[in-house]
Symmetry: C2
Subunit: 263 residues, 2 copies
């Protein structure tokens, strides 16, 4: 069983990935969609508000209106589009948002601490959370039935509020809960770089016991990928690869060791 | 097994329905969302274009951009919102668009004939179709697993293009394919009226063999509901009720005969 996460940043080409997945069985795809969500937010006159936590992690401030926009972009436009393309390739995909059958459940943080203009602030009425509980029974039901689950935002809180979550870390939770043999995190960058401006500075492998030392190399969105990788490794996933989506057969290539391999 | 369709017109209150459904097991909910889709279309600067067929049926001209807006409104915003509310009520709902596992499949009509400004025209590159094939296996898998399927747009064509479809008729196809014992069609009107301006002119019952004679009373969106009712009856569903959603316990009330009963 394999879990693949693909990012939704600008310049992430899904076609090589979906073509590659045709050759696999028994996997779950988790996808992002930040760029599409940003575009939709702008068009609807509600520009995204990105906030930074005191420990340097970036996330999206998510009031109820933003959550609705995220649902439209991730669960509506992107998820349906990916399922359509997979169906066209003969892959019997079933798209699910985390609310569906409580497949991705976690604790809502209704107040988040942010660091803005040099000041620490508390943001209230936020609909964000961390996925802690995965409905393995539903995912196995679909997989055993020959369907490929394609998972996305929003998740569901223990109180049944729809919540925004980080998709890299949610995918790590899925990989751990499903007892995946490998977890592949794909995006528009080739892996963790020592120097973010130099693609040749790729860190080829990381021993799982020393992953914390590498956290400092991660900038921006890569931080959560490394954190997700760490969480999956801690959750018992024997192989995690952070790799590029825009290459031929990106999953096969990642499993062959092209990217940042954590084990 | 019961199939309930609820409309998405302005003024349709979902709360009584969802509360009522708490008391039921073994059912499928199919929902519309035309009003939400219209609002989103307007906001995105792509106002809806409603067209009328030569036989007087109204539908939405659906180019690829419109299809994407429909996906956002129906599968993203409304479906996720309904699933969230059902989860809050303790109903383990799973939302699916018709593309998911090809659950609602049909023939795409890429050219539709319309009647506009007194002239017959052909509209090309349209993504509309009629649902003819229901993935009963997927729906049973979920139902047997204790989940309630909540179905919506878009469906999928035999060539795997996402398609817009009429939700009343799609729900009729679901009720027929699942061998439902009853099919309830709820909206913001109390049933089929002899005089659309007079709620007291409700037609209480229609013999299934004479349904064609009643088609003339149906105007606007009601036309497709009566057509859906006819298709479900023809598909072997023993009881179909067209009823109002904005009453206490709308499903129970409809099954008790309040509305237009077709059997």
């Amino acid at each position: 069983m394999l879990v693949v996460k693909v990012g939704g940043g600008r310049g992430t080409d899904l076609e090589p990935l979906l073509g590659d997945l045709k050759g696999y069985k028994d996997y779950i795809l988790v996808h992002g969609g930040s760029q599409e969500a940003n575009d939709l937010s702008e068009k609807l006159g509600k520009p995204p508000r990105m906030v930074t936590s005191p420990s340097g992690y970036t996330s999206r401030a998510t009031d109820r209106e933003t959550l609705s926009i995220l649902s439209m972009a991730y669960a509506g436009k992107i998820n349906v589009g990916i399922v359509e393309r997979m169906q066209k390739l003969g892959i019997n995909a079933v798209g699910l948002a985390g609310v569906d059958g409580r497949v991705l459940e976690g604790k809502r943080k209704d107040a988040i601490t942010i660091f803005e203009n040099g000041k620490r602030k508390v943001l209230r009425d936020d609909y964000t959370g961390k996925i802690e509980k995965v409905n393995v029974r539903l995912l196995k039901l679909l997989l055993d039935g020959g369907f490929v689950p394609v998972l996305t935002l929003p998740g569901i809180s223990y109180e049944s509020d729809a919540i925004n979550f980080d998709a890299d870390r949610a995918a790590a939770a899925v990989a751990s809960a499903m007892g995946a043999s490998a977890f592949v995190i794909l995006s528009n960058v080739p892996g963790l770089l020592r120097d973010v401006t130099d693609p040749s500075s790729l860190i080829g492998s990381i021993d799982k016991n020393s992953i914390d030392q590498y956290m400092d190399f991660a900038e921006g969105r890569m931080k959560k990928k490394v954190l997700g990788a760490k969480e999956a490794v801690d959750g018992g996933v024997p192989l995690v690869v952070i790799a590029g989506a825009n290459v031929e057969k990106p999953v096969t290539s990642a499993l062959d060791g092209k990217g940042t391999v954590i084990k």
